[in-house]
Amino acid sequence: MERSVTVATPPGSQRSPRSGVTSVGNAEATVRRRRRRLVGLLVLLLVLTAAVLASIAIGSKPIALPEVWHALTSPTGTEDDIVIGSLRLPRTMLGLAVGIALGVAGALMQGHTRNPLADPGLLGVNQGAAFAIVLSIFMLRTDDIYTLVWFGFAGALVATVAVFALGSVGRGGPTPVTLALAGAAISALLYALTSALVLLDAQSLEAFRFWRSGSLAGRDPEIVLQVLPFLVAGLVLALINSPGLNALSLGEDVARSLGQSVLLTRVVGIAAVTLLTGAAVSACGPIGFVGLVVPHMARAITGPDYRWLLPYSGLLGAIMLLVADVVGRVVARPGELQVGIMLALIGAPFFLILVRRRRLVRL
């Protein structure tokens, strides 16, 4: 097709056939678009670096940048070094990891369900983790946070597998509609059971409430390391999944005729979402907004190509989460505002402007 067009267009001819013009124009536009997206990615990386530095430097005790550099490269045990090493750095890393994970997972989830209302928790990940944690507090009477992380992770896995099974038993396998509905149904059920347990047993409430609040503060630094392998595995799976997801968004029939295994693509995608979200949720509780809204922002910038959308989503998610966390530390001194609240207050206006101004890219 491409070649026949170039043959049909004599070099230097001003009045080339219409198809030839658009094709050549398209190729140039593609190159230009790719360059623009690469630059955008670089800009996002720079902003992210700034956000990371800000998150380390700004807090109830402001630390100058030279001190930050000193603490990061050659800590000598000064007060600033200790604050950074034991508090700010773990918190920043947690925000970075969770932001990337939720952003990518949200984009994947919306792609697989083709539903703009889908968030990473849609397949029951959040509610599965919550229910498992409450159940383990209720049955084992433990509030050891390390044990709970694993229970939460297991619960997330079980819930997702259940949703996926329920969504695929019908004729036609897992489709966007059945997956979304199965996820909504199982999430609602688990949420109800969790609430009932918490209401009936006051002891479960305390430990659960802490987990549930969804915050970057006060989480143990070890937890980041615990869940890191799962995050990395999830990210790799997500990147592998992106070309397949591109094909799937043309519709299942077209994807199949392009040689995609629809089921395999879905399984890989859902596995990635589960790993990413499960790790993020069990590390710092459910954090809303990032997974739901950030992919829409990224889509408004990149368009529907998941190979670009996923990295943009991840970076934007991390930036939003870190910035919201920093602002939350500053506005309510000496206390702080929960990151979830700040996220919505800062992010939503941006989001609304994007939705109104850009031509909408549909799922």
Partner: protein, 358 residues
């Protein structure tokens, strides 16, 4: 009755030159749901700490019975049961309309900003009124529902205004609703963190959504809203089927796309806001009932009447269980609706899969 030309399973009814297709299931679903509703109401009125037999309940309802029974049934249980039924009906109808407009099975009136707006209004009143009003004082009885109603309506108008760009587009509506809801929920939680412990506790009770202690003053607004909005909805909903084909086809079919869509959204907002003001956000009814009713009735989109009656039945059944199943502890009705409704929705998903393009 020319059976030979009918589609199998869909007999055509022919009387002389007139003929129309009879589909039994869309008619049966509301009828069966209504039967369930009546049964659940009867059980709900009879059961409780002071059990009353069905005969006595009927006697009271017909104007007789002894004074104790009359007091318990008419003043305590009937308003509560009626609130449940009406709220369930209103939410389910609003849900059916929203899901059809957004063409999204995950949409509920929540995405129109109604629930979150009502939450902000209610929490603000509880905090500002605080100890002055108390949960049973004048502020609670008048101000709380009014503030919730106002909050819900204002939020929905915001969503509506921001998503209006030479007409309402279902996709943009959903996205704008997401954004506004996120802000409102954040504000609600911010208010909660500012408030004192006692106020926060009372606010949490409202936020969970409950039918506890609902009296006639909660029945009247929802009843009025239903009385006005249901006929309006049924009248306006005629183009809803055509809207499923997308804007261009709908226009080609002669539907005034923007006008009818806007009218339907406003009706859904009115229904959801009044219901939420009366009982707090009863979750899941608006989301799941339309999908359940659609699968039971075998229609291509959520049936309005079927969803409505089924929503009422589900809420009242859930209320019976919430009141009586756990002895002293009373569960919020929203939790029980999910426990009953979710497995049924799952069963329907497993049993029969229909390709439904949304």
């Amino acid at each position: 009755m020319g059976r030979e030309t009918s589609i199998p399973g869909r007999p055509a009814l022919r009387v002389g030159p007139v003929s129309w297709m009879v589909r039994l299931r869309p008619v049966l679903v509301p009828v069966i749901a209504f039967g369930l509703l009546a049964l659940a109401m009867a059980v709900n009125l009879g059961r409780g700490d002071f059990p009353i037999g069905v005969g006595d309940v009927l006697a009271v309802l017909l104007g007789g019975g002894d004074d104790t029974h009359a007091y318990i049934v008419l003043e305590l249980r009937l308003p509560r049961a009626l609130t449940g039924a009406l709220v369930g009906a209103a939410l389910a109808l609003a849900g059916a309309i929203t899901q059809s407009i957004a063409r999204n099975p995950l949409a509920s009136p929540d995405i129109l900003g109604v629930t979150a707006g009502a939450g902000v209004g209610a929490v603000a009143v509880i905090m500002l009124g605080g100890s002055a009003g108390g949960i049973s004082g004048g502020i609670a009885e008048l101000g709380l529902p009014a503030a919730a109603l106002g909050g819900g309506l204002v939020a929905a108008l915001f969503v509506f205004a921001i998503s209006w760009q030479r007409g309402i587009d279902g996709y943009r509506l959903v996205l704008v609703g997401l954004g506004i809801t996120a802000v409102l929920v954040a504000i609600k939680f911010y208010l909660l963190t500012l408030s004192e412990v006692a106020d926060a506790g009372r606010a949490m009770v409202w936020i969970t959504g409950s039918l506890n202690g609902r009296g006639w003053e909660h029945v009247t607004p929802v009843a009025l809203a239903l009385l006005v909005l249901v006929p309006l909805a049924l009248f306006t909903a005629r183009p809803l089927g055509g809207l499923q084909f997308g804007d261009d086809t709908a226009r080609g079919l002669g539907i005034r796309v923007n006008g009818s869509r806007a009218a339907l959204i406003l009706i859904a907002v009115g229904l959801a806001a009044t219901a939420t003001a009366s009982a707090g956000p009863v979750e899941f009814v608006a989301l799941a009932t339309p999908q359940i009713a659609m699968r039971m009735a075998g229609t291509p989109q959520p049936p309005l009447v079927g969803s409505m009656v089924l929503g009422a039945a589900l809420t009242v059944i859930a209320d019976v269980i919430a009141r009586t199943a756990f002895g002293v502890v009373e569960l919020p009705v929203g939790i029980v609706t999910a426990v009953i409704g979710a497995p049924y929705l799952m069963y329907l998903l497993v049993r029969r899969y229909r390709e439904v393009r949304t």
